[in-house]
Amino acid sequence: MKVLARARWPEAQDRNLPQVPGFVLSSFNPLVAAAADRCLRRRFGDPPVPADVGERTAVIVVSGSGDAVSAEHVARAVDAGARVGPLFFFQSVPNSIAGHLAARWGLAGPVVCLCPTGDPMADGLAEAGLLIEDGDADRALVVLVEQSDVDESSAVLVGEGTPS
């Protein structure tokens, strides 16, 4: 299993995180999308990926705290007896942004979201390796994301092939 492409958000010159239609308030989902889109573009150009490639490409999102900003917003609204906006329903789990990416890029392999028990990249790559060796995928896009004082994300595409 080789690293075929990699990307980060932010990289040099990055300023404003691109928003993702349908996802609100929190940087979590835009961070996943920014690193993933950049990584996939470096390998494939514009979306979607070729159908035979996409059919067997997994999407793995790894995050310790998950979308903490959205979860805290919902908790505050619930505690205040306020209405929770329906868009927060759509972004209540990390699968949603994984599915958004999968639809946009035509990635129809397994979708897995993990909370890392150790080094996040090691966890993500271990899952990617397992899915590939087990036969349900040939490649995997692994995206790491954490919301902190400095929001950041990174993505790697792994599988057989020649690195970009």
């Binding site: 995050s63 998950g66 329903f89 958004h100 979201c113 271990a126 899952e127």
Partner: protein, 372 residues
Amino acid sequence: MDKVGLAGMAAASALGRGTEAQLAGALAGATAFTPVRRFDVRGHRVKQAATLPDAGSLSDELARAIEDACAAADLSTVDRSGCALMLAVHAHPDAPRKPGGRGLTAATLAAELVTRAGLGAAARVYTSACVSASSAVADAAALISTGRAERIVVAAGYLVESDQFALFDAGRTLATDGAVRPFSTGRSGFLLGDAVAAVVLESLAAIRKRGGVALARVVGWGRAGDAYHAVQPRPDGHGMARAISSALHRAGISAGELGYLNAHGTGTPFSDAAEAAALHRALGPAVRAVPVSSTKATHGHTLEASGLIELVITVLALRSGKLPVNAGFLAEDPACDLNLILAAPRPIHADHALTVNAAFGGANTALVVRTP
């Protein structure tokens, strides 16, 4: 692939505590939905869920399930110490409200459970929504079948709480008539439910070596995505069908050899139709013969725990020789033309059963189990 045994299991849901309560409730088609008293639902459209009246904290309930599953498998202290944990949960339940809560993760919870149960380590923690537990079982089976692990405890839990309830209510996905009606006309959505479950998966050789007994074998598993939408299932069922085909291929059986199919069957109008399309696509003509039910009509939608509570019920059904009914059914929907088990439990006439799950993100899983 026929190397993975299920050596012990434990479960609790609104159907009761213990595995036998799950089977009894599922066979009877007993619906466990009551008005929610755990938190304030006055501002919500829907006010019912299936809750376990004496439920403790998620951590305590998971610890209890893991303990019970390890005891049921008759694992020694040494057996446990070499055993990894795979956990499936939404998140650490205290994270959104505690100061510094972002340091409390699902992995924190897993580490605590490992210590309490005397297990070896937290191997992996799944936060993949409604395929979390089934993904964990698939991965554990893959690791055991290839000799990379001898024994893994998979645990999963969801206890109905205010935040997810508010989100699903806002998303208008909850049933408005107090009942879950999988694959039926008049279905209006799902209702949430409590479930905590744990299973001990172990190589058959290791079970034999320590004088244990396998309750069932996990012989097939598959995972595939829809590549269709952030939260909606692909209407033609292509992703779920590929997950099922992958699981049947690993199991080395044809669709006609399935004696039961425990469906995801949330009772959501478009989701059930997509699942029925997937079953037709994956099973072909055999779809007419394979008995199908969704037990969510009894215990509710238990989100991250769905894959495990439904696996436990599937194994119990296989062992008992009786198949749970598809409760809540009113009348046939042409978009869900399946061989549904209605009215009364049916006897099973085969050794294999399939349980499927789907989740936001177009994630799909399928697990095949067989009698030992």
